[in-house]
Symmetry: C2
Subunit: 211 residues, 2 copies
């Protein structure tokens, strides 16, 4: 058996707030990096966790009292120098929530971070890149909205995540191609003049959680 | 410090041979699963490996005497039941080589696997899916060819990886959009009648290795 490796999970929990992608950060209660801002994370508990995704859900439950509707594995960050305690691996997860979630945390713009503990700034950058790339061909940004939404609310969210204006008719054509929405029969939003149809994600629009 | 976790890397080494995506498998020399077929893999060596990608390169060098031109992290597979020795995590990598590489191994069709040790069949399936998905918008399949190639050789490789016939003019338009090729000045292949221009990947057409 080779030398012990420290095995942790970290979660880049993102929301869209004030039209910007924002990340949840917490002050570390203990060393290393005591008092500094960091992602919610912790050791894998071999005795409790079914796998690393379960460890990520447990960390969010224990530290932030929430269960995100969307969580995926982003990738592993590893090496001798990222944690002063020794050679470590962090399996980093990406999670999305709506901004109204009540979490024991503070939100910070993902593209204008304060100083973070460990290599967590790299983890946030990788997660933001993944969200932007994946948004151009998937339902991902819809997880930043409440369960039901109008098409124009959805377009606004995509536009904010992608950082570019979107043209209405080509956006709607793309939605039809991707085919992840379903109309909620008889559910509308807005005034009597032109109420807007409400939609939700189809049951199967949930992504791979492990890869 | 919580209970120890076994930390390993495994590599799904793929090539295109006989027009099929094939994976390199080795007989395990020791328990667990002694004598069964498995992916090349091993423990992370905290004292030697800079990170998990370095561990994957070391495993390929030691066990197969090769260094693949393309390697990326696929994702981590973890839990209590995948390895009889205890709770384990395998950071799985995906690597591509040309079929002429001399490796101490045997190739097996990725979509018609024999029985494999551990959960390695799942790792191969995930890698094949990643290659197929990524091939539709990237230079990935070009790593299955020698360093220089003609456009029609490239089209054949894409078509075999994607498992569908491709139309020549739309394939060439896509190549122009993706912009990862460069002409090799004065280098051609084939007879005197209609020699075909040779191409190679641009220097920057190398992918993220860690995410």
């Amino acid at each position: 058996m080779p030398a012990q490796v420290i095995v942790t999970v970290d979660v880049v929990l993102l929301t869209l707030k004030d039209e910007r992608l924002q990340v949840a950060l917490m002050k570390r209660p203990q060393d290393p990096f005591k008092g500094e801002l960091a992602l919610p994370g912790g050791y894998v508990h071999a005795e409790d966790d079914a796998d690393v995704a379960a460890a990520a859900y447990r960390v969010l439950r224990d530290k932030m009292k929430l269960r995100p509707p969307y969580l995926e594995q982003l990738g592993s960050f590893s090496g001798a120098r990222r944690d002063p305690r020794g050679w470590s691996i962090s399996v980093c997860h990406l999670a999305l929530v709506t901004p109204d979630v009540i979490a024991d945390t503070h939100w910070f713009p993902a593209d204008k971070l304060p100083r973070l503990a460990f290599d967590h700034a790299s983890l946030v950058a990788a997660a933001a890149t993944r969200v932007r790339n994946k948004s151009s061909y998937s339902a991902l940004p819809a997880y930043l909205l409440p369960e039901t939404f109008t098409l124009s609310e959805l377009q606004t969210i995509y536009s904010q995540v992608l950082g570019e204006a979107l043209e209405k008719s080509s956006f709607r054509r793309k939605l039809r191609d991707l085919d992840f929405l379903e109309e909620i029969p008889g559910a509308f939003k807005g005034g009597k003049q032109r109420p807007a149809q409400l939609y939700r994600l189809k049951g199967m629009a949930v992504f791979d959680r492990t890869i």
